[in-house]
């Protein structure tokens, strides 16, 4: 049986950051990932990473960053978690720079910043528009340097929990289809988001919520899963995202009449003062209202970069120039490009404390799984609340990655070794054999996945109602039943992606169910969650988190209070 002290599942920014820090504690660390580390979805982040770096003459401060984040979260973020992420942001940026990240500089050779949505001051550090890629590749360099053991192209199928403690995982080597039990004193989930539950989505095909579902199945609660972010600028053709950095650099949003509609007073939801730099939920809603009112162009509004000039586009927005050219056939130097809101990020996830532990050490009143950690987009430390600010997510992966790595490193030094059976592996093996042996009934997982995604987008999307959500839940039940009979064509052992995607769909259906039920339970509108039947924020009843626990009969809902340290909720306007 394979065995490690700390097993990190996921090799995106969060996972690699955890591994580096845990390894520094002198414990045995391994990383397992379903794709090669640099193929992880973190590389898609274009815009940048936030930090209020103390600088002479700069009016910015970590408190200002924290306040913007609290306000951005529509007061649902836990303020202790937000204080930590903003306070530790500066040192973390410096550490990344020392590792080798080639951040853009200003004229004096110091780190340069750009503006981003929802921020009072410019505090977004960046590498052109390939920030995520530049960070991920450098983090991978550090892991190569440390010679960390990496199980590449291995797919985790289940967590192993015995006596309420997580003791390892079952994983499939994709190159051979063989299952293995990997024993670990601590398992750190860094498996990323669940964007593919929706269709269309800005997310890569691998972002299927695996870890979120597996933790949930293993008994860890999911928090605020109804909070799904729609990004305001995605391409119609394939859902690809055009960075917020474009608006940060001054690009406009126009409707069919050529009007910068965000400045229009006709709707209370618009953002006449912050305009294109308002928070994402606000802009996405405004766009959808324009499109629904017939002021769009083919189901889109327009992103206009023309006035930014060729030089700036070349130096800072080159990737979006390429994307628009390749997929929409538009040269952004010459024409505005049609865009629309698309699913982008999930604020909710596996509930953890500020050190990434997915169990309750402080008696906060929630259940969890000891020995299990979570960090990055799959986790909900709750620094984003009801709406994440752009460029705060990369920050979360590194700040909380470091903290979780440190904590897991300490934890395993004290954790006793336990005997582990191979029962879970045998379960998974027979589950997989059963799927492979299913007779062809004409159904395909791809068809079911598309149906699920489109249904989620239309019924659990930007505007929600009780009726739609209940309908969605019903459909998800039907889909779950149907899923049990969906066959696969590929019966082989070597890189059987047919099987892998089938398993992923099963995990996504769990996420879909929890998202829809959490959305139904929250009877108010806050941040990304907008209920047409409850259009106001309701602090009295809903200044709290939703919590979903797994039961065989379906999710059981509960709530937890929001942690407030110094910022009392007030009205949120941009």
């Amino acid at each position: 049986m394979l065995e490690h002290d700390v097993l990190v599942v996921g090799a995106g920014l969060a996972g690699l950051r955890v591994a580096i820090e845990a390894q520094k504690q002198g414990v045995d660390v391994a990383v397992i990932t379903k794709v090669h580390p640099v193929r992880s979805h973190s590389n898609a982040a274009q815009g940048g990473i936030n930090a209020a770096l103390e600088q002479e003459g700069s009016p910015d401060s970590w408190e200002a960053h924290a306040f913007d984040t609290v306000k951005g979260s529509d007061y649902l973020g836990d303020q202790d978690a937000i204080e930590i992420i903003c306070r530790e942001a500066g040192p973390e940026i410096i550490e990344l720079e020392h590792m080798g990240v080639v951040f853009n500089r200003d004229e004096t050779g110091h780190l340069g910043v750009r503006a981003f949505g929802g921020a009072t001051y410019s505090r977004t550090f960046f590498v052109g528009d390939i920030t995520g890629q530049a960070l991920l590749h450098v983090m991978y360099e550090q892991v190569l340097k440390a010679n960390t053991r990496i199980y590449e192209e291995w797919f985790v199928t289940s967590l192993i929990v015995e006596d309420g403690v997580c003791r390892g995982v079952v994983a499939m080597d994709l190159a051979t289809r063989r299952l293995h039990t990997i024993k670990a004193k601590a398992v750190v989930l860094a498996t990323g988001g669940a964007g593919r539950v929706f269709e269309p989505s800005t997310n890569a095909l691998i972002v299927t919520g695996d870890g979120i579902s597996q933790a949930y199945r293993a008994g860890a609660p999911l928090m605020d899963m109804e909070m799904v972010q729609f990004h305001p600028t995605t391409l119609k053709q394939n859902g690809a995202l055009l960075t917020e950095g474009a608006r940060g650099e001054g690009a406009y949003l126009l409707n069919a009449e050529g009007e910068r509609f965000l400045g229009n007073e006709r709707n209370q939801f618009y953002a006449p003062s912050k305009m294109e730099l308002a928070a994402r939920d606000v802009i996405s809603r405004a766009e959808q209202i324009e499109i629904d009112a017939g002021r769009g162009v083919d189901g889109c509004v327009l992103l206009d970069c023309r006035h930014l000039g060729e030089d700036l586009i070349r130096e800072r927005l080159w990737q979006i120039w390429e994307l628009a050219m390749d997929f929409a056939n538009v040269d952004i130097m010459k024409d505005p490009v049609p865009i629309r809101p698309g699913v982008h990020y999930i604020m909710g996830g596996i509930k953890t404390d500020v050190d990434g532990r997915a169990w309750d050490v402080n008696g906060g009143g929630w259940g969890g799984v000891k020995g299990l950690f979570a960090v990055g987009e799959c986790a909900c430390i709750n620094a984003h609340g009801a709406n994440r600010l752009g460029a705060n997510s990369l920050l979360e992966t590194v700040v909380y990655g470091r903290r979780a790595g440190l904590t897991a490193g300490f934890y395993v030094k004290e954790a006793p070794t336990a005997l582990l059976s191979e029962a879970k592996m045998a379960d998974d093996e027979s589950r997989i054999k059963e799927i492979i042996s299913r007779p062809d009934n004409g159904d395909r997982w791809a068809a079911l996945r598309l149906e699920m995604g489109e249904m989620m987008n239309s019924q659990v999307g930007i505007f929600r109602t009780k009726e739609n959500l209940e309908g969605a839940l019903e459909k998800i039940q039907e889909m779950k039943l149907r899923y049990r009979h969906v066959p696969i064509q590929n019966k082989g052992n070597i890189f059987n992606t047919d099987l892998q995607f089938h398993l992923e769909l099963g995990l996504m259906l769990d996420c879909a169910e929890v998202i829809a039920l959490s959305a139904l339970s929250r009877e108010e509108s806050r941040g990304a969650h907008y209920r047409l039947d409850f259009p106001a924020r309701d602090d009295e009843k809903w200044l709290k988190h939703t919590m979903a626990y797994y039961t065989p009969e379906g999710p059981e809902m509960d709530t937890l209070p929001v942690t407030i340290t110094q910022w009392e909720p007030t009205e949120r306007k941009y």
């Binding site: 979805h41 052109g128 890629q133 340097k145 390749d326």
Partner: protein
């Protein structure tokens, strides 16, 4: 539009060798080769093996040979390749072993990356804040950091192909373009303090001097990294750093001397001059190549070019310019 994809299939679990399978479909105009492959995998043939994830040319998963050249499937629109009713041939990347269908074993690729010690190596105490460095330097490196490690350049590198054809075991082959572009990213980094050692190592055989300027890697790189240009920049840096006691610089010098003396390349002495006349160990493996070239009439004994005088003048003036 109506289009056929002719896909090279290989399943090691069957006892059949590689073969081509043609899939026909009605593809929308915006379809990329990847869209078409995903369509096949999802709707008609779940056994088709390929890697992909981002669909937007950023994860580096989907490099493959499309109509004979390495490309990202997700960045290659079908309409740019063929007209209505046409056919597109899709094969796995070259120069790497095929595992299944369009999936190659990337181990040789990553081994080469690892071989250049791809991490920043600053010396001395770290500054309290960031290293202060010019933005231009960072911009230049960001160009190299644009590399998404897709392997397209390695797939189509002609030197690597020749080595493999000659039967050189893959772990003994040269570093190839991607790893060298990666190396450039550190050599060019003002924060790194091991530039000299790096350049020395890169100047060994199997390093920067093995490239034959064929432009192939520049041509196929989907991210504008221009590996060959980075290799040439590394050569300049190595020579400026005085690292000349190696085959590569000797080769370059022999090249230069030959042109100056004869007005043309003297291929007979080029190899011995590069590796050193008495370097029997390195000369021996070159013999078959030399003999093959002689037979093919590609190797001629030196004779002077007509306008030799003029060429000498050009070389002299270039030399002078360089001195100044």
């Amino acid at each position: 539009m109506q289009v056929s994809l002719r896909v090279r299939r290989f399943d090691p679990e069957s006892n059949q060798g590689p073969y081509y399978q043609t899939y026909s479909m009605d593809a929308p105009d915006y379809y990329t080769v990847l869209d078409a492959l995903i369509h096949i995998r999802e709707e008609t043939d779940g056994t088709l093996g390929l890697r992909c994830s981002c669909r937007s040319a950023i994860c580096g998963s989907c490099a493959m040979r499309i109509d004979g050249h390495a490309k990202l499937a997700c960045k290659t629109k079908i309409i740019d390749l063929t007209a209505d009713g046409g056919e597109v041939t899709v094969e796995p990347v070259g120069n790497m072993p095929v595992v299944k269908d369009l999936i190659a074993d990337m181990k040789p690729f990553w081994d080469k990356i690892r071989a250049v010690d791809p991490w920043l190596q600053p010396e001395g105490p770290e500054p309290e804040r960031e290293y202060v460095v010019p933005n231009e330097a960072m911009q230049d490196l960001a160009g190299a950091m644009n590399c998404i490690m897709c392997g397209a350049c390695v797939s189509d590198c002609t030197v690597l192909e020749a080595e493999l054809n000659r039967g050189v075991p893959v772990e003994k082959t040269w570093l190839a373009p991607a790893a060298l572009a990666k190396a450039y990213r550190f050599v060019g980094d003002p924060r790194d303090d091991h530039q000299y050692d790096r350049l020395e190592k890169l100047s060994d055989s199997g390093g920067i001097w093995d490239c034959t300027h064929c432009f192939e890697c520049i041509e196929v790189c989907p991210k504008g990294v221009a590996p060959m240009d980075r290799i040439m920049a590394l050569r300049d840096k190595a020579v400026s750093a005085g690292i000349t006691n190696n085959n590569g610089t000797r080769h370059a010098k022999a090249f230069h001397d030959s042109i100056k003396a004869y007005g043309r390349l003297d291929e007979v002495t080029l190899v011995p001059k590069s590796v050193g006349f008495f370097n029997i160990r390195e000369l021996l493996p070159q013999m078959p190549t030399g003999l093959r070239m002689l037979k093919a009439g590609k190797l001629r004994l030196p004779h002077k070019a007509e306008n030799k005088k003029k060429i000498k003048q050009i070389v002299d003036s270039l030399d002078k310019e360089q001195m100044e």
